[in-house]
């Protein structure tokens, strides 16, 4: 089971990448308006 010493830290690394990605997205304003994009994508097909 020594593979766990590689796999688990790797999983933790992925988790940290996820957290950093979330911080980057939140700082970039991706979550400022959570209502309008849902409407926008419904009608975006024509242009």
């Amino acid at each position: 089971m020594s593979v766990l010493y590689v796999v688990v830290p790797l999983a933790v690394l992925f988790a940290l990448i996820g957290i950093i990605g979330f911080i980057w997205a939140a700082r970039g304003g991706q979550f400022d308006d959570t209502d309008t994009p849902a409407h926008r994508m419904l009608h975006d097909d024509d242009d």
Binding site: G18, F22, D32
Partner: protein, 835 residues
Amino acid sequence: MSTLTSSDSLSVAPPPLPVSAATLCTHCGLPVPTGLIRAGEPAQFCCHGCETAFSLISSCGLEKYYAIRDELQAPTKAVRASDRSFAEFDDAAFRTLHVSGSPGEACSVELFLAGVHCSACAWILERLPRLAPGVLEARLDLRRSLIRVTWDDGAIKLSRIARVLDAIGYRPHPARDARSRGVRIAEDRRQLIRLGIAGACAANVMLFALCLYAGLFDTIDTGHQQMFRWISMGFTVLSLAWPGAIFFRSAWAAVRARAAHLDVPIALALAAGGVWSVIATVRGHGEIYFDTVSVLVFALLVGRFFQARQQRSAADAVELLFSLTPASARRVEGDIVRDVPIEAVRAGDVLEVLAGESMPVDGRVVSGRSLVDESLLSGESRPIDVGVGSPVAAGSVNISSALHVRVDAIGERTRIGKLMRLVEDASCRKAPIVAWADKASSWFTLGMLGLAGLTLAVWLILNPATAVEHAVALLVVTCPCALGLATPLVLTIAHGRAARLGMLIKGGDVIQRLTTPGIVYLDKTGTITLGRLSVVAWDGTDESRALASALEEHSSHPVARAVRDFAGPAEGRRVERVHQITGGGIEGLVDGRRVLVGSPEHVFARVAPDAGSRSRASACAAQGLTPIAVAVDGRLAAIVSLGDAVRPEAADVIADLKRRGWRVGVLSGDHPDVVRRVAAQVGIAETDARGGMSPEAKLAVVREAQQAIGTRGTVVMVGDGVNDAAALAAAGVGVAVHGGAEASLAAADVYLSRPGLGSIAELLDGSRRSLGAIKRNLWASLGYNVIAGGLAVLGLINPILAAIVMPISSLTALGLTLKARTFAPPVAPTFRGAR
């Protein structure tokens, strides 16, 4: 939304309106008046505004808007374009305040739009670059009704963009306070990041905790166990150091200020659990509480996140109303009149104020004669006559005709500006109410520390090796997490439900204050009464009523509107040779008969009255009503009493308040006689009806009452005007009613968005039930803590038990909250606010 089709209209009786049910406006879907139907044309319009909007939209190839809108069955409204030039949007002063980017280059601005409601709006507005070439991008924030426009300043002027928005039915207003909104957005983002990190850490720690617990029952390799413990520690330390730091900071601040705050016991539990677990990990043996600690941080942050969001959306809604008030003025520059932003106006300028507009400044009339409604400032319900030389105050409304006004004072130096300073003062001095949970927290902290000491002492005697461990277990398991969640959860849900019922609650302590009866002070004009002139009694023939109404169709005077509303629409009468007598009345020929409507002095001078009419007119004036006389063919036909009519539900609401143990009083700026008459009508004792009050006097009365009543009751002020704003801010709870002035909205704790007083009873009921729910939650979590604390003293709590029991207590709080009836949904469909 109207769903009438041509086949339906055959089986349904035609409505009594002069419209054809089969013809609906192509733009807004409302019925088209018969006079405007164009035979044989596919597109039909109910008004000019809709026609303009339709031709603009279709000429840019955006007809798909209608398909999207119909698919959504969105409510529609006829376009009421204001036909304004929006020239002030191009002014340098406006640019420095609201626009980013320099002239001639790509610029951007944020505008509030009136009338945004669905995704069809988002669709059409984000195609603004096609409607107004030169616009580079338009992004709409649907929830806040805020559009961000980026345009090429060399290709198109902002005023032109504003006119396009206005033409398709979304009137633009500059968004105020861009800077404070920036700060708020940054704070929102920080809060979301904290929540995200805490959530991710808690989830990861729980995964490893699951492995470790499984290892307790089965076997686990020591190397794996150590790795999992170290990784859990890493995540927990991250969680405590970043998102969890707010609890430590706030607890430290509370300790330094020697104030009671729930964050103190929370921080104590987090610190005890965290430090102990870190030591255990480093030493390589001993119990760890990383899972419980990181979940605690996450759960507490969730409660705070929802609470902040709820208060934010109430603040947003109020801010939107703010921005809809005009912030421009029309400056007279020689022969031309130019729209300028209010910030560009200087003392000594001459401004034009049209009928129906509000005064942007304090000043003196230099030309024109009109009626001015000062009720917002003074509470006086009767409009006053102004002529050359008369002073006018900012915030009052010009009713009948255009005026030129020389500016004396702007902004903070106006009377209204000074009042606003009083409002700020009063809100600062409002005594803070200490939340129950905070009040309990100092006892709680002492209890926790006492029990921990006891545990330590007992186990030092019984088994010294495990003494510290049991004390730590006690501190962790008695963390008042459910207690911390109980209040925010209930408040969030209650405020959300109240908002759906048209009650925007801004403060967290409003609900608690409203459950201790004290005194309710009501403003008169616009609160107990409708706030506009209407006919109270018509002493004359029915014929005089119809004739006067037909004649008054030709006047915009408030008296004329009152007469029309009372007599109903005058159909098919021929009105000729109408002549307005300024300050006197109106006369003309109706169906060939000479009709004169005006003030008794004026009419009596032309038509000899009998003694009865004269005394009726003076009796009417003595009651605080406005009399007018109607003459037909040279003979007196009617004496009409006009007044500010009492709202139909006022008497019931006041009786209901009294039944609940509240004392009810009136504070009004109007004449004491009028106030007494209205008070008697709605059942308020004469001693509690106070008239002739200045805004400062209202503030003093509310402060005095607050001091006299202390903590035994709450002083509630209900009002709508600027003259109430200071009193609203000083009162325990300030309630602004529908249609109130901007200042009163800012000062009040509650804003009722449905017209009338009916919501007040609902507000009190809802508050009582919400407080009940909070108390139940607090007792439940206290009970849990007592049991868990008892087990910990006995040394029965281990990390697994802590990890299981802790979420159960939070879930109990959540379940109790969701089940509680706080603000009930409306029973019967009542009339709703137009906004």
